[in-house]
C-alpha cells in the first residue's frame, strides 16, 4: 500500500519539478507548484473509484495522476506481481492521458481545452471509463457548490458514487464555502470537501484569514463530521478519506477534511510570496517534506531499497520528460475567434 502511494507521489513530484524547471528557463509563462501537497492529494485520489467525481484545484495533480494513470502499466517491471492495491485503476490509456495532460499544461492543440484554458482549468470526461474530472475556475471556493452538484446528480440517479473537491484554507473564507457545504449537508449529498491547509493563502497567513483554532471544527456548524489530519502522512489521509467516502456512499452525507501540510513554494513560481513565511516556519515545512517522510518509512520497513527508490525516481522523471517533450512538439492551436460559446 505504501509502495503504491509512494509511486504516485514520486510521479507527481517529478511532474512539478519538470514544469518548475521549464518556468525557470522561460519555456512556461506560469506555474503553480504542488510540491508538498503530494501525500494529501495522492491519498485522496486513492480513496475514490470509477464513476466518482474529482473536482480539483491547482495543487492537486497528485489526485489527478492517481485517478488518470495506472502506474503499474507505465512501469510494468518494477512492481511486485500481484501487488495489493489500494484501489483499482480506471482502465483506458494511461500514457495518452498523461500526454494530453502535458499538452493541456502547455496550451497545445491536443490538450483537454485545446489551448483555450490554462493549466488545471479544464474538464475531462471519459464516460466509458467512469472518469469524471471537473477543473477549477480562478475564483477560489467557486467549485464547492459545483462539486456538490455533481454529488447531487449521483443522488438523483440513485448511484452510490461520491464527489470530492479540494480547496485551500483561504477559500474557506468565501461565501460559496458556506453555501455549498450547508446545502450539501441539508441534502445529505455524497460530497467530501478537503481543505489543503498550507497555512498561507498567497501571502496571507491563517492569523489574517480566520480567527478559529482550526477549520475542521466548522463542520459542527453544518451538522457534519469534520476531521483534522496530518496532510504529510498519506496513510492517515487515506484512512480519513476512506471513512468519509464510505459514509457518503451509504447516503449519510458530506464530510469536511482539513489536511495540514506545509508551504514549500510561492503562490506561483517566480513570485516572492515565500518571503512572507518566517524562516523557521519554512524550515519546519521543508524538514517535513512528505516525499522524504514516505521514503524514510519505506526504507525503514525494509519494503524497498534505496536503489529502487532511485530507479522509480529516474523512471518517473524520464517518462515525464518524454511526454512533455512530445507535447512541446505538438502543434499550437490555430488562431480563432469562433470557438463555440453555446452547445448545439
Amino acid at each position: 500500500m505504501l509502495r503504491e502511494l509512494h509511486a504516485y507521489m514520486r510521479l507527481t513530484r517529478e511532474w512539478d519539478l519538470r514544469y518548475e524547471k521549464m518556468f525557470k528557463t522561460g519555456a512556461l509563462s506560469k506555474w503553480y507548484s504542488s510540491v508538498g501537497n503530494e501525500a494529501t492529494t495522492v491519498a485522496c485520489g486513492s480513496a475514490i473509484e470509477k464513476g466518482d467525481a474529482l473536482v480539483s484545484l491547482h495543487r492537486d495533480v497528485g489526485a489527478i495522476l492517481r485517478h488518470y494513470v495506472n502506474i503499474e502499466e507505465l512501469f510494468p517491471d518494477i512492481f511486485p506481481e500481484k501487488m495489493s492495491l489500494v484501489r483499482q485503476p480506471l482502465g483506458g490509456d494511461s500514457r495518452d492521458r498523461l500526454f494530453r495532460l502535458a499538452c493541456q499544461m502547455l496550451g497545445r492543440e491536443h490538450g483537454f481545452s485545446r489551448g483555450h484554458e490554462r493549466s488545471y482549468h479544464y474538464n475531462h470526461m471519459e464516460p466509458d471509463h467512469g472518469l469524471i474530472h471537473l477543473g477549477m475556475i480562478s475564483h477560489l471556493g467557486s467549485m464547492i457548490p459545483v462539486a456538490a452538484g455533481a454529488a447531487l446528480s449521483f443522488q438523483q440517479q440513485g448511484l452510490d458514487r461520491v464527489s470530492i473537491n479540494f480547496i485551500g484554507e483561504g477559500a474557506t473564507s468565501t461565501g460559496d464555502f458556506h453555501e455549498g457545504l450547508n446545502i450539501a449537508a441539508v441534502w445529505k449529498l455524497p460530497f467530501i470537501l478537503v481543505i489543503e491547509n498550507n497555512h498561507w493563502a498567497f501571502s496571507t497567513p491563517t492569523s489574517q484569514q480566520y480567527a478559529c483554532d482550526n477549520l475542521a471544527s466548522r463542520a459542527l456548524g453544518y451538522g457534519i463530521p469534520g476531521v483534522e489530519v496530518d496532510g504529510n502522512d498519506p496513510l492517515a489521509v487515506l484512512e480519513v478519506m476512506q471513512t468519509a467516502v464510505k459514509r457518503a456512499r451509504a447516503g449519510e452525507g458530506p464530510t469536511l477534511v482539513e489536511a495540514h501540510l506545509g508551504r514549500h513554494r510561492g503562490h506561483s513560481e517566480g513570485d516572492d510570496s515565500l518571503n512572507q513565511v518566517p524562516s523557521d516556519e519554512l524550515k519546519g515545512y521543508l524538514d517535513n517534506d512528505p516525499m522524504d517522510l514516505i521514503e524514510a518509512r519505506l526504507l525503514s520497513s525494509g519494503v524497498v531499497s534505496r536503489a529502487w527508490l532511485q530507479e522509480i525516481k529516474e523512471r518517473s522523471a524520464n517518462l515525464i520528460m518524454e511526454v512533455v517533450d512530445e507535447a512541446m512538439a505538438m502543434p499550437e492551436p490555430t488562431p480563432n475567434t469562433d470557438r463555440n460559446t453555446y452547445a448545439d
Binding site: E117, Y122, N123, M143, V146, G149, D176, A343
Partner: protein
C-alpha cells in the same frame, strides 16, 4: 392548405402557462428537477409550483436554503452530469447573490470545457406593482453582456409556455425572465404546437404597420400595442415587433421590418444607460442605417432605482403617452 390547430387551453393566464410548462416537462423528462426558495410545500412565492411536491416528490422539487450562489453552483454541477435543473429565483433581483456562479461558472462552461450546462433560471422580474428597489428590476442587460447565456423574456402566455419548455430542453443555461405584472393580467389561447428543443432568436410581428418599427419585450410589448391603437387614430400605423428571445437575437426580422417602415424605436422597462436598447440601436445603426429616415429613439426607464410608491414608479415606466410622443418625434 392551412390547418385548424387545436386549442389546448383557452385564455390561459401567463402564470398558469408557466406552471403547465414546468409540469409537462417534468412529466416528460425524469431528469428535470426544480430548486428554489419555498417552492416545495408552499408552492413558491407566486404559487407556480403548487402541488408539484405531491406529484413529483421531494427529490425533484427541492426547497433550497437562502443561498443563491450555492443553488446556482449546485445546479450547474448537477446539469453537467445529466440533470436538468430549473431554479426559481424568488425575485429576479436576488440573482445578484449568485452572479459569479452564473456568469463565470455556468455561462463559460461550454466554451471552456465543452461540457454543456442544461440549466434554466426562472426570473420573476419587472415593476408596476410598487414593490420597491429590490423586487422590481429589469436586469436582462447584465446577462446579455455575458456570452454563454441565452435570455428569454416572453410577453404572451403562449410564448411563455413554449419557451419555458424549450428552455428546459436546451443544452445551455437559459435566463428566463417572467414578468410579474403579466402573471395575472395576460391571457392568450394555447394552441397545439411543436416544442422546439432549442431556444432560437425570434422577432415576432405582433401588429403590422408601415410607418414605424417598434421593438420591445415583456410587459412593454403590451404597452406598445396599446400605444399603436392610439396612433392608429392619428392615421399612423406602427409595426410592433416583440422579442420573446433576446439572446440569441433575431436581427433579420427587425431589419426586414425597418426596410418597410424606415423608422425605428425601442421601448424597454429596464434603465436606460447600457440597456439592451442601446445595443439594438447600435446594431440597427451598423447594418440598417441607410434604410432609416429618422433617428432611432429609445423610450426607457430613467437611470434610477425603482421607487416604492406606485405613482412614483409609474412616472418612470414608459407610459402609452411617453411611447406615442417618442414615436411622433421619430416620425416628425
Amino acid at each position: 392548405m392551412p390547418t385548424e390547430s387545436k386549442i389546448l387551453e383557452e385564455n390561459l393566464l401567463y402564470i398558469d402557462a408557466l406552471s403547465l410548462a414546468l409540469r409537462d416537462e417534468m412529466r416528460e423528462d425524469p431528469t428535470v428537477m426544480l430548486m428554489g426558495q419555498d417552492i416545495a410545500g408552499h408552492g413558491g412565492a407566486f404559487k407556480i409550483t403548487r402541488d408539484f411536491l405531491e406529484e413529483f416528490g421531494d427529490r425533484r422539487v427541492r426547497n433550497t436554503p437562502i443561498a443563491e450562489s450555492g443553488t446556482v453552483g449546485i445546479a450547474t454541477g448537477a446539469a453537467i452530469l445529466g440533470q436538468r435543473p430549473v431554479i426559481e429565483m424568488q425575485f429576479a433581483d436576488f440573482i445578484t447573490c449568485g452572479f459569479n456562479q452564473l456568469v463565470n461558472v455556468a455561462a463559460k462552461m461550454y466554451w471552456r470545457t465543452e461540457c454543456s450546462v442544461p440549466l434554466v433560471i426562472r426570473m420573476p422580474g419587472g415593476g408596476g406593482m410598487g414593490a420597491g428597489a429590490f423586487h422590481s428590476q429589469n436586469i436582462e442587460s447584465w446577462f446579455l453582456h455575458s456570452p454563454g447565456l441565452k435570455v428569454v423574456a416572453p410577453a404572451f402566455s403562449d410564448d411563455a409556455y413554449r419557451l419555458l419548455r424549450s428552455a428546459i430542453k436546451d443544452p445551455n443555461p437559459v435566463i428566463y425572465f417572467e414578468h410579474k405584472f403579466l402573471y395575472r393580467r395576460e391571457r392568450s389561447d394555447l394552441q397545439e404546437m411543436q416544442i422546439p428543443d432549442r431556444i432560437e432568436g425570434e422577432a415576432n410581428v405582433r401588429r403590422e404597420g408601415h410607418h414605424l418599427t417598434s421593438i420591445s419585450w415583456g410587459w412593454m410589448t403590451h404597452r406598445a400595442l396599446e400605444a399603436a391603437e392610439v396612433m392608429e387614430k392619428e392615421g399612423i400605423e406602427i409595426e410592433v415587433i416583440d422579442l420573446p428571445v433576446l439572446s440569441p437575437l433575431d436581427l433579420s426580422g427587425i431589419f426586414k421590418s425597418i426596410e418597410k417602415t424606415e423608422h425605428a424605436a425601442i421601448i424597454h422597462e429596464a434603465t436606460r444607460t447600457a440597456g439592451f436598447g442601446a445595443e439594438l440601436a447600435a446594431r440597427i445603426s451598423d447594418e440598417a442605417i441607410w434604410n432609416l429616415d429618422g433617428p432611432i429613439r429609445r423610450m426607457t426607464y430613467p437611470d434610477s432605482p425603482s421607487p416604492f410608491h406606485k405613482g412614483l414608479e409609474a412616472a418612470r415606466i414608459p407610459s402609452v403617452d411617453v411611447i406615442c410622443d417618442g414615436w411622433r418625434e421619430v416620425l416628425a
